[in-house]
Amino acid sequence: MIGWQNPGWLWALPVLLVPLIIHLLNASSGQPLTFPALRFTTPSKARRVRSVSLRQPWLLALRWLLLALLVLWLAGPVWQPPLPASSAGPVLVSPLALQRFPEAARAKAAELSGAASAPPRQLASGFPGLDQPPVYEGPADRMLRSLADTWPESTQVVTVADSLDRSWRELPAPDGVTLHTIADGISEPLQVALLAGEQRAEDARYVRAALTALAAADLLRWRELIGPADTEPNAEAIDVLILLGVEPGAASVAHRFYLVDADAAGEWAELTVGEQRYAVQQAATPPSGQPVLRGDDGETLLALSDSTSVPGLQFSGRFHPETNTLVNSAAFVDLLDEWLSLGRLLPQPVEPAEKPSPSRWLAGLLLVSWLLERALALRAAPAPAATGSSRGEDQRERTEPAVAT
């Protein structure tokens, strides 16, 4: 089955009529034909060219083909394998997939929506359409899990394989829900590195403890860096780099995801996790970006940066019990796991699976048709006389379409 990347171009198909209209206009516009022996002709009462016949129908057909190929090529055809009838249902796309693999996710959604009863939507509150910017509102898989029982039959979800919550991944999909996953190429388990500055030697202890706990549960692997990350031989293998008191620029490796802290020099904020309340001294300047963790009064304590130079999470404060009572609790381990999992959100250019594109074939056909049309058109037009006035050559050109009428 063929779909279109730019289906609006199909409205240009009436352009096929243009060659015929030009031909008819040429034939019926009454352009006089130069004819020296006019004196021997007999005037006709008719004043309109009434019969139109094509002298070179194959050339006209070739031009039609050329224009049709051009329009189809501009419309961008794509192969869409037919869907099984049972797969028809609402299509939901995980915001994580939209953020990380927008093209692949949209293509998959378009493919699935061919047989779906409704257009694909984001798996987020209110199910915004795909034309809306992707929104992040926490792990989408949790939403899916909680709402799965209410999904219509044959709901389809496009998501990223590794971005699902681990507990979700270990469980089968809810009944009636089909998961279409896009491979993301993230290391499994997640590779985390910690780099602490001299001012954060104390802070690193608590982070280190939490990472060790997570590694013991085989949820990630981590190691501590001694110097800047670019001195590490396997720096590229790091999925998330935690920087404590170190500017991201100082560890200038093209890391996929950062978790950076900030000096605690501002107001204190209260934070409730479960039933426990914690206090965090914020940085003087709140982090910018999409809030991931908020205080009880709405302060942004952790934000997902939308910066392309330093992608990742910015914590508004330090990981030290003196300024942050959270780090001493077991909840910190869970929260850190959740935060680090967000590293999978990073845009990761992944080439979609190579499929034979009809556009290439169309482009080739277009070129061949154009060359053929030129050759035929030149062959149809007689070569000008080698000697004689230029007006004579013009004359022949003017005479050509007239003979076709």
Binding site: G30, Q31, P32, L33, T34, F35, P36, A37, L38, R39, F40, T41, T42, P43, S44, A46, R47, R48, V49, R50, S51, V52, S53, P382, A383, P384, A385, A386, T387, G388, S389, S390, R391, G392, Q395, R396, T399, E400, A402, V403, T405
Partner: protein
């Protein structure tokens, strides 16, 4: 001549001829086809334009010996020039706008065909040592190349032919003055053309009878006047279909006509016109021949020259 023989002779089709952009080459090809086997090489004798030396033979006048050459080489040599005869060929070429017409899909228009024909005739004249001159007929008569003999004269005519462009209406200068249309030849042409062979290349679409009168006046003397009428297949057949709007290139007059219904009448009228023209010209001593420019020129030229008394 059998059809097969005719095919063998007519090897240069109009498309090939049109593809030969060089008038010199086209003229030579056409004329050589006629000269082949006739041993009409260039002749030499007394004259002004040097051609070659040859060894003295008994009977040669001592005046013809080049004594300076003898002083250097101690051999008696006679200086020869290209033979100049008292024959003179005048080419009168119609360059009016109606000559700028070719059949749809045709390789050559009438003017291009006439230029090649003129080049071939000029080459033949030059080979025979005849004088050659060129006059164009359009809104007025214009002397393009004064008659002269010699090898270079043919090249002068070729250069003039290359520069020519079609345009204007036959006898337009006289038409504008309101007087009866008369094609007036350049001053002194009457004297210069006494005893000459005059070949008029035209489509003979005259406004009144100006061209017929001109040929009659020319033939009224010792001149040998030949009329070569050029026509295209389109003019002969009126091949268009449906109602077409035709325009005369010279007068600008337009007319709607339905060739499908009027073709027979058209052919008859045209045939009658040229038959009457032929009779009129023959009556005045002018031989009239029609050349179809969509047929091979070399074979037609050969037949024309062979049939010429």
């Amino acid at each position: 001549m059998s059809t097969a023989a005719a095919r063998r002779e007519e090897v240069i089709d109009p498309a090939t001829l049109a593809a030969i952009g060089d008038l010199e080459l086209a003229g030579r090809m056409l004329a050589t086809g006629y000269l082949f086997g006739r041993h009409l090489g260039q002749r030499h004798g007394p004259g002004f334009e040097f051609a070659q030396y040859r060894a003295w033979q008994p009977g040669d006048s001592s005046r013809s010996v080049d004594w300076r050459l003898y002083a250097r080489s101690e051999r008696l040599s006679v200086r020869e020039s290209e033979l100049e005869t008292d024959q003179r060929l005048w080419l009168l070429l119609d360059t009016s706008a109606s000559m700028d017409f070719a059949s749809p899909g045709g390789a050559l228009n009438k003017f291009g065909y006439a230029c090649r024909l003129a080049a071939a005739l000029g080459y033949l004249a030059q080979q025979q040592g005849d004088e050659l001159g060129l006059i164009t007929l359009a809104s007025d008569c214009r002397l393009r190349v004064p008659a002269s003999a010699g090898r270079l004269q043919w090249y002068r005519v070729l250069a003039a032919l290359r520069d020519l462009r079609c345009g204007g209406r036959l006898g337009e200068a006289a038409l504008a003055s309101g007087e009866p249309i008369e094609l007036r030849l350049p001053e002194g042409f009457s004297d210069a053309s006494e005893g000459a062979l005059i070949v008029v290349l035209s489509d003979f679409y005259q406004h009144e009878t100006e061209l017929t009168d001109l040929l009659g006046r020319l033939a009224n003397g010792s001149r040998d006047v030949r009329a070569v009428c050029l026509e295209t297949a389109a003019e002969r057949e009126l091949p268009y279909r449906g109602v077409v709007r035709l325009q005369d290139p010279e007068s600008g007059a337009e007319r709607f006509t339905d060739p499908g219904q009027t073709r027979a009448a058209y052919r008859a009228a045209r045939q009658a016109y040229f038959e009457e023209l032929r009779h009129t010209l023959l009556g005045r001593g002018v031989r009239f021949e029609r050349f179809n420019v969509d047929e091979p020129l070399d074979g037609r030229l050969r037949r024309y020259l062979t049939d010429t008394p």
